[in-house]
Symmetry: C2
Subunit: 596 residues, 2 copies
Amino acid sequence: MRDERLSKFRALAALSPDALSSIAYANQEIFLGLVVAGAAGLAYSWYIALAIALLLAILALSYTQTIQAYPSGGGSYTVARENLGVRFGLVAAAALMTDYILNVAVSVTAGVAAAASAFPALWPYRTLLSLVLLAIVTLANLRGLRESGAIMTVPVYFFLVMYLALIAAGLVRARLEGPSSLALTAPPATAPLTLFLILHTFSAGCTALTGVESISNGVPIFKSPESKNATQTMIAMAVLMGILFIGTAGLTQYFAVVAGPDETILSALTRHVWGTGVLYLLVQASTLLVLMVAANTSFVDFPRVASIVARDGYLPRQLMFLGDRLVFSNGILVLSGVAGLLVVAFQGDSHRLIPLFAIGAFLAFTLSQAGMVFHWRREHGRRWSVKAALNGIGMVTTAATVVIISISKFVDGAWIVILLIPLVVWGFNQIHRHYALVAAELSLRGVPPPLRPLPPPRIVLPLSSLHRGVIEALRYARSISDNVTAVYVEIEPGSSDKLAKQWREWGLDQSVRLEIVPSPYRSVLGPFLDFLERTDSEHNDGRTATVLLPEFVPAHWWASLLHNQTALAIKIALLYQRHALDRSRAVIDVPFYLRE
Amino acid sequence: MRDERLSKFRALAALSPDALSSIAYANQEIFLGLVVAGAAGLAYSWYIALAIALLLAILALSYTQTIQAYPSGGGSYTVARENLGVRFGLVAAAALMTDYILNVAVSVTAGVAAAASAFPALWPYRTLLSLVLLAIVTLANLRGLRESGAIMTVPVYFFLVMYLALIAAGLVRARLEGPSSLALTAPPATAPLTLFLILHTFSAGCTALTGVESISNGVPIFKSPESKNATQTMIAMAVLMGILFIGTAGLTQYFAVVAGPDETILSALTRHVWGTGVLYLLVQASTLLVLMVAANTSFVDFPRVASIVARDGYLPRQLMFLGDRLVFSNGILVLSGVAGLLVVAFQGDSHRLIPLFAIGAFLAFTLSQAGMVFHWRREHGRRWSVKAALNGIGMVTTAATVVIISISKFVDGAWIVILLIPLVVWGFNQIHRHYALVAAELSLRGVPPPLRPLPPPRIVLPLSSLHRGVIEALRYARSISDNVTAVYVEIEPGSSDKLAKQWREWGLDQSVRLEIVPSPYRSVLGPFLDFLERTDSEHNDGRTATVLLPEFVPAHWWASLLHNQTALAIKIALLYQRHALDRSRAVIDVPFYLRE
């Protein structure tokens, strides 16, 4: 899939948009979570941001270790499967795949929120606009977008430049103006400031960290030395994310910025720093663009995970081949179809989608970190206990986060994901079980060589009249067997007389028996199938007769509509419906091409 | 289809609802056509009604002659085809089929107008309600409605009783009250009273006469003596129609009844005569019911005409069999689908649909009458010239009506039908041409008996691994030919080594050649098809190799999604796509049933 290795500069753009763009909705969630408790609540946003930044630092350090240990790409599924067993691997895969879908829905809705903050007239049309963005990303992927191209790199660096400039300008301004008081700007509290409220807000803010694992999955796309470059890029990304997140959250609180109902908090902050001029619009545009690129990363990551899981036999085998055009297109359509449903169901509002988000990511983080702990213990290399301890801290922190999110967001929608993940794992296991049973049934064990010979088959040939196509089919039938029976289903009594006469004229009665099967109810298929089963029983040799279908094929597909599709109906009935005998039956198609 | 013969009483109910119910929309059209010219315009409604009644008398007389001449059913298609040639027959068929579709749309919308006149709150929902009525009629037909049952008879006689009572009461009231003056009730004129306006209104009123031919089509369903009973029923129907039409139109003008924008003129008349009590509601209910029965007649007549045209090879042969459940259901769905589109496109307003209506019916009338003139001349029987003259008058009158409708309603929508009918006839001819060419290609002329022998085919068997299903397929292949080649498309270099080893272990190399075809681009289908064409060219014996497909069939359909559908892809490619060689190729399916 990837033909060329990427420099650190381009790899950062290819692998980090998901993580970097998260600050757009994470800031928004912290604000919406705390504003209900008024000024007292909003005063906590700085601490929540710091806690999340600390979590980011722990995760980034943990993942640099994964990069060292898995230079060929250590996705959560791989790490969990290798170290904790396949069961945990599947949980990690289900969690990740759920999260990739939600990332699409959250990113497009957050992008629309950024755009609609600049143009409040768009606010009522957020669902529709989110679907439009989704359609654009989908079409670009169907057309075959290169994830490493300039179309990805430019928006990411544009976003970084705009936000770093915003923070710099904000700091200058803060120096000149001094702090503002939330007591003057915050709306009155409508809910008490409880521990639950703070944990709830922390959980929502943790969505900032979705996507930080991307670089550890993508080690092989770096230029050599891959691990070193990936580690440096991981650290660079974590530092950039930290600056963006702490910077925006800190300035928001310092200036006591509060957003109205039809604006995001980042938009309100930007207006405070830059006013509503061109710079403001550029910041909003960069937010929209980076979120579209972030949505796009799911279209790369989802099929990649699906292909690895399929390779182990837990998803349909067709998904194994990322290069398969048809499967790939179907995958894109399924992914954006489900994301589109989510957008519609949650009315294009990222705030309503967030409770479903992040559980999957943090569950995968936890399993991956736990896997790394086992990995170091098993390897018993130099300083293994320090490495294990570092991953252990990551594991405990992320596990605690999963518990906090699950409980605090349960009624808001987390229950959907908590129900869904085990269901998906159950599905994985059903698929695997099916493959195993089929493999056992198809196994050659107990079927000793050599190939035992088989007598030529009995051939049954249905026909409605004697024409060139039938003559060719009869010649074919006689070339493979001496036992050929032609069957005519007679709907109108006496209609077989002409055929029987032609049969004798052609001397066909010498070599092929003609059977007339009466059908009083105008059906051809039923009496024919009955004939087959009756004669099979009569022969009682354990074999079924082969059906040979003379079929003329018109030159144009639409002309098929002008002909009775009896041959097709027979084929479908024989191949895909099991009949009384439940023994398979060979079917031979002898087509006759028409020039018309 | 029809198992029992009908008495005149029940035959009238079965065959005349289309004609009788027409007075509902015909009265409405005359009113709407003239009201724009105010009182002076409405004064003409009586004369227009008389002219249409005269036309009715001429048509009824003409058709009693058709009944005599065609005791086995003289539809316009049959009469025109036999006497004027197939070209005119097809025009008549196209005209009739167009009209049957329009009859459905006009009847349901007029039925809803009758109901909404009684409950004006329903008026804005006429499109939706029309679609609901259409759905009811469609479902009843899909469930298999008997057109001669009580469900048809009761509404027709209920309608007749209600309207004859209405007219009788109206006459009593007229005697007591004397005439009213239109000058007092009519709205002011908004358009001048021109000859065009009068002809335009006459054209719209002619929709009263659609359906009068039904009895002549249905002669065979009468009890013996069929022709005599049918003639008497025809006359009874014409007399009843005349009374209803002249009666309602006459009373409307006598009482100077005028309808508002959300009421039909028949509703306004009924209110004038009965007030708004129970009797009024019963009249409206009978109108709604008879129009539903009228819509239903198209579901009987349309497939009947299609089946006769199909029998002559101008429509797909499947349509021949009226008993075919699948074809029949598809036909019902197509008919109501198109009618539904018309209802939506013309916003559930019968007044907007009317310009498309009646051209088809009158064109078919004209061709049928013209056919009868030729029929009498050719037969040269007793008093043939009188009979021919009678049909000749019918022909001239209906032809004149076609011209008047076409011109006066052209811009209102008649152009659609005038364009459509030739297009449908062109389609008929294309279908017929296709069948003739296919018959010539399939003809045995020039293929002398006896059946020339053919050597056993070369067999090519694609496989992806050696499993039980493949072993069974190889046994089958060897039972019909000594020349069997197995083909493995190798996507990953070296992946064929294991297969080649198994091949030798099984001693298969003794009897079946194994070919490894490399595929650098991950495609199985392309390299396999290339292999077939290359080896066919190499053999150069004018024959193509037969492809034998080992295929395992899972026990549940959904399990098919878990397996590569390579066999299906190969089948589709071989059977329905023509390849470079453009020579047909036999395909053998050897399924292997899985218990899983």
